[in-house]
Amino acid sequence: MNCSEVHDRLSAYHDNELSSDESALVSAHIAECSSCAVELASFERLSALSRRLTDPPVPKHIWEELQPKLAEPTETLKLPTWFLSNHLTSKHLALAATVLIAFGVGVLSYFNLTLHLDHDQHLAMNFSQYLEEFSEQPDTAQQILLTKYDGRPTTLQEATRVLGYEPVAARGLPEDCVLDKVYLLNMPCCTCAQVMCKNKEGQSIAIFEHAIDQPVWFGDKPKVECLCHDTPTSVTQIGNRLAATWKEGERYITIIGATDLDEVTEFVAHFQETSPAKSL
């Protein structure tokens, strides 16, 4: 073994993670090579120093604040305050407070949705089924949509041609998100692009882009209105995941399956920052 090969294995040797054969080869080299021996000795000193690091005392309030959150059910949503406590950090709460001051009381409220149109009711129903399935089985949920709305898999290029505009996802996805699939759906309102992606944890997130606002998508689920990256965004809870809608340029973006409000904000920020209008 030469010095370079020994250097590549030095951590593994020092940590007793080499096979006995390899370890013997490294030992033999180090016995003969003073520079590699010095290198190894420095790793040993660094480890000794690391072992002396002092543990910081854990603040008691971590558990005290965590406990009530754990006791709350995750399946049902009763009050916006509950929703906020689970999904928003103290920074967000400060932000929400600012929003309330700026726009007055009433920003945070339930939407009373009145559904009169048949197709709206139909849409709400299909989406509630989709949303219920989504958090547990995104693939099954997808089949529901494709069946109901004559959906078909496509590519971003084809979607651009059919829709007459480039879907936002064509400008790239937020960091750590990877494109999974693209679909075209014939919704009652318009032909709609649906892009499926996976976040870092491998969870599916659906991105819908549509020409008109679709409050009925979320049926009578309670929503909160907040500012994500300074953009008015409606957020609702689906199981233990979030769905959010906001306006991007002339169209509306809806994402379903975000882990928390931070992830929603990442999407809002990303699509805004990559907007062609921004570069003008």
């Binding site: 250097h7 590549d8 294995r9 030095l10 951590s11 593994a12 940590d15 007793n16 993670e17 080499l18 096979s19 006995s20 054969d21 390899e22 370890s23 420095s42 790793f43 000193r45 660094l46 480890s47 120093l49 690391s50 072992r51 002396r52 690091l53 002092t54 543990d55 910081p56 854990v58 603040p59 309030h61 971590i62 558990w63 604040e65 965590l66 959150k69 754990l70 006791a71 995750t74 689970n86 950090t89 103290s90 920074k91 960091e175 750590d176 870092k200 944890e201 233990n240 931070d262 904000t265 990442e266 920020a269």
Partner: protein, 202 residues
């Protein structure tokens, strides 16, 4: 010709506490607690927290800085309990907790960078020393760690402070086991360089 080599099985050299992973009395209890947590048992949740919070907190303090550590630790446990059904039992519950904690910390760092909430890198853990001249070696190491790339930092901390094996680190960081050694090599070389510049070992 590849010989049938056996891995040396030796106790872990690292870890502050000398307890290796987390302070479980026995692994059967760990498995039972994990299962009870999956049923939402509050007593088991408390037990898991009690056993792991010191390890998780010290890791997160060094990942995100003291100021945000409590929030990120709380979020990490909240995620761990919410997603505990995703824990398959193939890995140890301790490794899995570390994975959630590292993910939360890295996610927090990315968001902080993106939002430009804080323009400065986080302060080293111990700020009591006002000048480098007064810093002892431990403080120098805390400072060097704070400047290390977060991916390298997490590998180094899991090895040197938490005492994880390479297989456990690979599991916690979701990287191939073969990558762990090279990450630790880079981490150690960069830390040594930073420390030497501050006069360590001279």
């Amino acid at each position: 010709m590849k010989s049938a080599s056996t891995r040396r099985i030796e106790p872990l050299a690292a870890s502050n506490s000398g307890e290796g992973m987390l302070a479980w009395v026995d692994m059967q209890e760990a498995a039972a607690v994990a299962e009870a947590c999956q049923q939402g048992d509050p007593v088991a949740q408390r037990r898991l927290y009690d056993v792991s919070h010191q390890n998780v907190y010290r890791l997160i303090v060094r990942m995100v800085g003291l100021q945000d550590a409590a929030d990120v630790t709380q979020q990490a446990f909240l995620q761990a309990f919410r997603k505990i059904n995703q824990f398959s039992g193939r890995s140890q519950i301790g490794t899995w907790i570390y994975r959630v904690a590292v993910n939360e910390a890295l996610q927090h760092l990315r968001k902080r960078k993106r939002r430009h909430f804080e323009a400065l890198e986080h302060e080293p853990m111990d700020r009591s020393a006002a000048s480098r001249e007064n810093m002892d070696d431990k403080e120098l190491l805390e400072q060097a760690l704070a400047q290390l790339d977060p991916e390298l930092r997490s590998a180094f901390l899991l090895r040197e402070v938490e005492g994880l094996s390479y297989r456990e680190i690979a599991d916690a960081l979701e990287i191939p086991e073969g990558t762990v050694g090279s990450r630790l090599n880079r981490a150690r070389l960069e830390l040594k360089q930073h420390l030497s510049e501050q006069g360590w070992g001279s």
